[in-house]
């Protein structure tokens, strides 16, 4: 009879991400999931009154008088200010970790999922560097040549903000079901770290600059492995891991 053990697919993918990141000189760190409002929002240039807060459906955690408002982090970008306020550049960091969104669940939405946030700060890190890094990072992760393209977008903690598409890792760009026959996959948001964020973390934007990005790990897992329902990843079903 079968005696083999099995890893959870997310563990495999996060490990792949970690290995690709380390190879490209990134440190891998994490921060708390139960997070202070200031790290999740305010220091990322998302003040409480800003309509951009609507971009994140947030679980709030009951407040203890002395601790201020707390959230279940809505993105691992919360680690950016935590890390930057206590480190001196240059640095390059990846944060794979669990995040939470207040939303009803279905086959493609979960209230908990994994996100990879990454950021790099140095003297001459630019939009052009970011574009080159993404191509290298995804090529390393998917073990094949990947191209990226970027389009304008907006996230309060970057300026400018971009959406990043990558050439389909399944078909290489010729068109298949995974990329809906477009050859491209919308993969993540990114941008140059907003000078306000740098200042909030005690860094001088005239001296330091860098990029940041955020990508959904579960979505990559679903595409890469063909998993048809995101809820399979969290319902404790051994039939999931047994396939890996």
């Amino acid at each position: 009879m079968e005696q083999k053990g099995h890893l959870h697919p997310l563990s495999i993918l996060i490990n792949d991400i970690t290995q690709a990141g380390v190879k490209l000189g990134f440190d891998i760190v994490d921060g708390p999931e139960l997070e202070q409002e200031k790290y999740n929002f305010d220091m990322l240039n998302i003040p409480s009154w800003h309509p951009a807060r609507d971009m994140w459906d947030t679980f709030w955690v009951k407040t203890l008088a002395e601790k201020g408002r707390r959230v279940m982090r809505t993105h691992t970008s919360s680690v950016q200010p935590r890390y930057m306020e206590s480190h001196t550049p240059p640095f390059a960091v990846l944060v794979p970790g669990k995040v939470f969104r207040y939303e009803p669940t279905d086959a493609t939405h979960e209230a908990q999922f994994f996100q990879l946030d990454g950021f790099m700060v140095g003297k001459d890190v630019s939009v052009a560097t970011m574009k080159s890094f993404f191509a290298q990072f995804f090529s390393e992760l998917f073990k094949k040549e990947i191209n990226v393209r970027m389009r304008p977008s907006y996230f309060p903690f970057v300026e400018p903000g971009v959406e990043v598409d990558m050439s389909c890792f399944k078909c290489g760009g010729s068109g298949c079901n995974t990329c809906k026959h477009t050859g491209w996959i919308e993969i993540m948001g990114a941008g140059m770290i907003h000078p306000k964020v740098l200042v909030a973390c005690g860094l001088n934007p005239e001296e330091w600059q860098g990029f940041a990005f955020g990508v959904g790990i579960d979505r990559i897992a679903m595409m890469k492995y063909g998993i048809d329902d995101v809820r399979h990843l969290y319902n404790g079903d051994v039939r999931v891991s047994a396939q890996f």
């Binding site: 005696q3 083999k4 890893l7 380390v22 052009a128 574009k131 309060p156 047994a242």
Partner: protein, 639 residues
Amino acid sequence: MKVYTEVLKQFISDLPDTETLKSVLTNHAFEVEEVIKKEKGDAIDLKVLPDRAHDALSHRGVAREIATHTGKKFNEVATQTLTPTTEVSSVPVRVESELCHRYMALRIENVSVAKSPAWLSEILGVLDQKSINTLVDLTNYILFELGQPMHVFDAEKVKGAITVRTARAGETMTTLDNKELTLTEEMLVIADDEAVLALAGIKGGKKAEVDANTKSIILECANFDSISVRRSAFKVGIRTDASKRFENNYPSLWAEQTLLRYVYLLQKEQPDISYGEVTDIYPNPKMSFLATITTKRTNEWLGTQLSSSEISEILTKLHLEHVQKDEGVFEVTCNDNLFNIRSVDDQKYVSYQIIGHIGRVLGYDAGIQEKEYMPLKPRGQVVPYITETDRIRNELVARGFVEVRTYHFQNEGEEELENPIANDKKFIRSNLYLGMSEALTKATYNAPLLGRTDIFIFEIGTVVTKEKGEVIHLALAGFKQNQKKQKVIDVLKQTLSEIGLDTNVEKETENYIEVVISAHNELFEAAQDVVDLVHESQYVNWKPLSVYPFMTRDIAFFVSEEAKQKDLQEIFLLWAGALCVRVDMFDEFEKTLEDGTKKLSQAYRLVFQSQEKTLTDDEVNVCMQNVEREIESLGCEVR
């Protein structure tokens, strides 16, 4: 935000075709979500994000973008030059709160509450708006055309002056759609001498509603504080197209143009209208301001090699007035068209926004070349808890454990959510026990599907307690059919001891043990190398999980010489048909007969499951009869 090509043509007479618009907008401005073919033109659904929601939630803003990126000429729409008459009084207005940035009002007489003309209701239909009557529809149309919300009151129903003030505690109003609101003191309202007429920037009230008998109106064209509108809208739970624009800081600069646009369009439909002097209370007119950018900084930020003259050209495309003070130093006049400035702080960093606009005019795809990324050295380390948890994963998988992940929110714990998504998900878990117990029950049930009699599972995850905060736990659980030799808990304990984790036990039962691995607060000092997780395939051929129960059947037989040459497992799968999802040999022994000859006995377990239905005994029996028949034809003797 939907834009309609027919409306965009008001601003750009030689509008490019929709395919071109789609590509230009995607690469340089906004994501195109959908293009919908309409009778006369196309509706393009755009994702306008908060940085541009102050000016581009309008056809005007989108048309300016199209002009920037295609080189087409942008024209403002036609407006009325007012010819007021003294026979119509001006509207007395008192603004008592700084939350109102500008208040324009105009009394218009001799209006008709007629059905909207065909052109107007057609456009509103394309923009998913209901047509009500000409007077109301025009405010709605202009909101989408220019972005500025307006409101019309029946002038006869407004008693005395219009006052813009904060509500009195407990004051009430009935909205146009008959909702009763109780207002609080921080909410801004429009009131007459008797009562509240509207919740400022959010929703009009019943009191001065335009109805079939309306002969004269007061047209309001005003601007309100974005934070105040946002808070009030949240509090009363009403969000409208108007409130959305105000909370995104719609500029007060364009109120006059908007009001004159209304009069222009109304006069075209109803030439007999007359109106008095405009009331315009605008205590602190918003001014444009100057920002400095340099060629050097722009190139550093974007990673480009633009010349000063190229930057100047791009600024011109963006309709940004600028002068070059010194070589490579530009003084740019900024106004509300591109910059959503909410604070002094915003203004301080506006030069970076200008650089961002330059970047998107260039185009991030074709316009900016990659510059080789060089890894920082020496770097590439991993925070210890990740290395440690991956080590544990490898150890456990090598010992036959299956990893699971379960939910963070459950019906017990120590830290509680303010806004749980369901009543049984109010708490952050303080241990892994509940999730793992359910997982074990399911795993025990599903064990035959995985070809097992015994099953062991594990989870590594964060938990939160008041005392320790956020901590990472490991939980092991298992099921064993036969516990005579070794009990489940002994297997679990032995495993923990083998991997060096037998201290810090948090919870233990007869089939479960949970230990603390690491405090989740040593976060940043990456100091170790990555541990490679041991696994086989890079890609997996995922099989969907059936929601229907499975059935098992066992078959035992003496194996013939002929059958010994074959891969019986493969053959069973074939014979049993598509419903058979798994075959495992679970027993094998050799029996010596009296005559000294030896016979090999084998026992197999077959698992049946359908993706579409619950199987019946009869269906499975038919499959098993096939298997038996075929095995016998190979000379095997079924026991």
